[in-house]
C-alpha cells in the first residue's frame, strides 16, 4: 500500500518522479523489518528524502486501493506457490516455529490476504511507521554535515509517536526431530533440513557463518550481494560428486530472534531423499567429531572478505548494509564483521556443529513429486 501514494505524491507521480531522474526505488518486507529505498543521482537525493518523510506519515490507504492491491498480492503468492521450494520451505518454517511469529511466511496466508481489512492495514501503519521505530541510512557522494541538516529539517518535525512494543513470543526449545513432506507436480525431489540457529547479534552467529561456509559454501548475507560457487564445500563433495544430489546450498539469516540455518538439496534422479539425508548426517557427524583445520577456517574467512568487498561496491548495498545491521544489532556489527569472522577458531566451529546441528533439534522436509498421477484440484 506504500506505493499507492499520498496527497503530495500520488501513486502516479511517485514512481515517475524518481524514474524521471534516472533513479531507482523499491521496497521489501523481510522477517523482522520492511525497507524502502531510493538510489538517485547525488544532486537529486532531496527527492528521496522528501518522499520518504511524506510516505511514512501521509499514506492514504483508500478502500479501492486496498481491493486492487489485495488481488495483486494474492497473485504474487500464487506465483510463489508455483515453486516447489516455496511450498516446502513454507511448511518447514511453520513446523520450526509453533509459537514465534516466524511461523508465518512474510507474504502471509491466503485466508488472511482474502480477509484482511483496510483498517487492519492502516492500524499497522500508524503503529509501526513512527520515528522511534525507524532507521534512515544514506550513502553516497555528499558532505555528512550538509545532508544531516537536510534530514533534520525534514524528519525532526515529524510527530514522535509512541514506539511500538514488539510482541515477541519466544519459541520453546524443540524436543525431537520433526519430519514432514509436501507432495506436488513435477518429477524432482527436494530435501530441506532446517536447524535452529542463533540470532544475528549472538556471539555464536560468527562461528556459525564459518560452519555454514565449510558445509555448503560461502554466501553473502547481503540480500543484494552475489555469491561464488560451492563445489569444494563438504556437502557438495558428499552429495553431488557421489551422485546423490544434483545441487546443494545452505544459508544463515541475520535476524533479531533466533531463526534457522537451512540446507537444501535437489535430489539426483537415481537417488533418494533418504540417501541424501544420511549423507548430510555423516558430514555433520564428521565435523562434530573432528574440528576443521586452521587452513580451512582461514579459507572461509578469505571467502567472506571477498564477498564483503563485492557486496560493498554499490552505494545501494552500502546503505543497505548499515540499515540491515541496525535492525538486529548495530552499525558496529557491520564495521566489525570481518574482524569477528577472523577471530573464529576450529574449535568454535566444532562447538557449533555439536550445539546446533543436531538431529533432535531440526525440521526435515521433503518435496515429493506426484509422478504421472493426477494432481488433486
Amino acid at each position: 500500500m506504500q506505493f499507492k501514494g499520498t496527497e503530495r505524491f500520488p501513486a502516479e507521480v511517485l514512481d515517475k518522479a524518481v524514474a524521471r531522474e534516472g533513479g531507482y526505488r523499491n521496497a521489501l518486507t523481510f522477517l523482522d523489518w520492511t525497507t524502502y529505498f531510493e538510489t538517485l543521482p547525488a544532486d537529486k537525493i532531496d527527492l528521496a528524502l522528501e518522499l520518504e518523510a511524506d510516505r511514512m506519515f501521509n499514506s492514504i490507504f483508500t478502500s479501492a486501493d486496498v481491493e486492487s492491491e489485495r488481488t495483486v498480492i494474492i497473485s504474487e503468492r500464487q506465483g510463489n506457490e508455483n515453486e516447489p521450494m516455496f511450498l516446502l520451505s513454507e511448511e518447514v518454517q511453520a513446523a520450526a516455529f509453533r509459537v514465534h511469529s516466524y511461523h508465518h511466511e512474510v507474504i502471509g496466508d491466503l485466508v488472511d490476504l482474502q480477509t484482511i481489512q483496510r483498517d487492519d492495514l492502516f492500524e499497522h501503519y500508524r503503529a509501526y511507521y513512527v520515528p522511534g521505530n525507524a532507521v534512515l541510512t544514506v550513502a553516497g557522494d555528499f558532505q555528512t554535515e550538509e545532508i544531516l541538516d537536510r534530514i533534520r529539517a525534514l524528519y525532526e518535525q515529524l510527530p514522535d509517536g509512541a514506539s511500538p512494543v514488539l510482541q515477541v513470543r519466544d519459541e520453546p526449545v524443540q524436543s525431537g526431530e520433526k519430519n514432514l513432506s509436501v507432495v506436488g507436480p513435477g518429477e524432482t525431489t527436494y530435501v530441506q533440513a532446517a536447524y535452529h540457529a542463533p540470532a544475528g547479534n549472538q556471539a555464536d552467529f560468527f562461528p556459525y557463518l564459518v560452519t555454514d561456509s565449510l558445509l555448503t559454501g560461502a554466501s553473502s548475507l547481503n540480500l543484494f550481494g552475489g555469491g561464488i560457487s560451492n563445489k569444494t564445500s563438504r556437502l557438495y563433495q558428499a552429495l553431488v560428486e557421489r551422485e546423490l544430489a544434483v545441487s546443494v546450498h545452505g544459508g544463515l539469516t541475520a535476524t533479531i530472534d533466533p531463526f534457522l540455518h537451512t540446507i537444501v538439496a535437489t535430489v539426483h534422479p537415481q537417488s533418494s531423499a533418504e540417501k541424501v539425508v544420511a549423507a548430510i548426517d555423516d558430514e555433520i557427524k564428521r565435523l562434530q567429531d573432528e574440528p576443521p583445520t586452521k587452513e580451512q577456517v582461514e579459507r572461509a574467512v578469505k571467502q567472506a572478505r571477498a564477498l564483503f568487498a563485492y557486496g560493498s561496491e554499490s552505494i545501494t548495498n552500502q546503505a543497505f548494509w548499515m540499515g540491515y545491521a541496525e535492525m538486529f544489532a548495530s552499525y558496529e556489527w557491520f564495521l566489525n564483521y570481518l574482524d569477528r569472522l577472523a577471530a573464529v577458531t576450529p574449535e568454535d566451529v566444532q562447538n557449533i556443529a555439536q550445539k546446533y546441528l543436531r538431529v533432535d533439534k531440526r525440521v526435515l522436509g521433503v518435496y515429493r513429486p506426484l509422478e504421472g498421477q493426477e494432481v488433486p484440484a
Partner: protein, 427 residues
Amino acid sequence: MAEITEAHRLSLPGPDNIMRTELSNGIVLYVRSNFHTQSVVVTGYLMAGGLFDEDEKLGLADFTAGALMRGTNKYSFHEIYDALESAGANLYINGGTHTTGFGSKALAEDLDLVLDLLAESLRHPVFPAEQVELLRAQILTSLAIRAQDTREMANRTFDQIIYNGHPYARPEDGYPETIQAITRDDLVDFQRKFYGPRGMVIAVVGAVEPEQVTEKMEHRLGTWENSDQPAPFELPLIPEPAEPLTRKYDIPGKFQSDLVLGAVGPERRSPEFLAAALGNNILGVFGMMGRIGEVVREKAGLAYYAYSSLSGGMGPGPWYVSAGVDPQNVEKTLEFINTEVERFTSELISADELADSQSNFIGRLPLSLESNAGMASAILNLERYELGLDYYRRYPDLVRAVSRDDILETARKYLSSDRLGAGIAGP
C-alpha cells in the same frame, strides 16, 4: 529533464579512459581501471553459440561450455574450484545463442589466478568421462525443472510461434532426448572446431593497470590459433508470420499461469533500436511497469508482475509483454494487453511520456555503470554491437533525438496485430 554535467560526461567510458587493443592473434581486449574498488571483473565471449548445434544434438554448445571447467591438461576439477573458491573468486563459462560467454569476479590480487584458469579451460579442456556424466544428470534435472516452470514454458511456447522454423525457435539448452544423444566425443569435437580467437572479445574492469592486463592476456591467450574455426553463423531470415497464433502448454497442478504476447523485434544494431527501447519503456517498464503495469496491475489488480521487454541482441530478438495471473484470468488479461498494444501501435505517445522516458534513460546511465560488472558489460556491448568507443558520451544526444513519430512508426512496424503471437503455460 535529467541532464549530465560536463564533468559527469567525461567520467563516462570513452576513448580517453578505456583502453582497446588487439592481441597478436586478433582477440579484442578492453580494459578500464577503477581503483575505487578492491575487485576486478573479467567478462567476454567467443563465437561458439548454440546456433551451430544440429537439431538432434541441441544443447551441445551449452553442454560443452559447462564441461570446460571439469578438468584441463594442467588442472583437475578439484584443483580448479579449490583455487577459485579459496580466493573467494568466481568464474563461469556459459553457452548462449550466438556466443559462449564467460565471466569472473575476484579480488584484484587474484587476477593471475582467474586468467590462468580461464585460459586453461577455454584452450585445454579434457572432458573427464565421469565429470561429463555428472554434468549430464545436472542438465537433465534442470530441464525437468524447466518443464514445470510456467514462466519459462510460456516463453518457450511464444518463441516457437513467432520464430516458427527459425533457429531462434530452439531452446539453446536442448531437450532431454538431445542431451542424452550427446557423447563425450561430441564435446571434444565442438571445442576443437568452434573455440578460438576469431571473434573473441574480453573486457576487464577494476583495480588493475591496462598495460599489465594486456601483458597477462597476451601471455595466456595471444598465442592461441585455430585454423578450423568457421566464420560466424549466418542467421536465416525470420519467416513471415502466418495467422496470429495463441498456444497453450499445460502444466497441471500449478497455481498461476504465465502468458507472453508479442512479436519479433529489431536487433540491437538496427537504427530503430533506440526508438523501440524508449517505446518499450513507455509501454511496460517506466515507473511501475509503464502502461501495462498501470492497466493490468494497478487498475485491474490482475497480476503481481506485468511488463514489457525488448531483447535486441545480435539478431532480431523478441519484443513482448509478459504477466503472471490467476489461471481464470488469462483471457481477460490478454484482452487488456491486446488493447494496450493496439493503442501503442495506433496513437502517438504523449510529449510528457517521451520526455519522462528520455530523462529516465539519460539519468540512469551513470547508475548502470556504477559497478565493475555493469561497466564491463557496457564496454563489451560497444564491440558486440559496433557502437563506437564514444557511444556513452553521445548517448544523451541520441536519446533526445528520438521523436514521438519515430516511436509510433517503430511500434507499428514490429507490433502490428498481424505479427503477434501468444504463448501461455499453466494448469
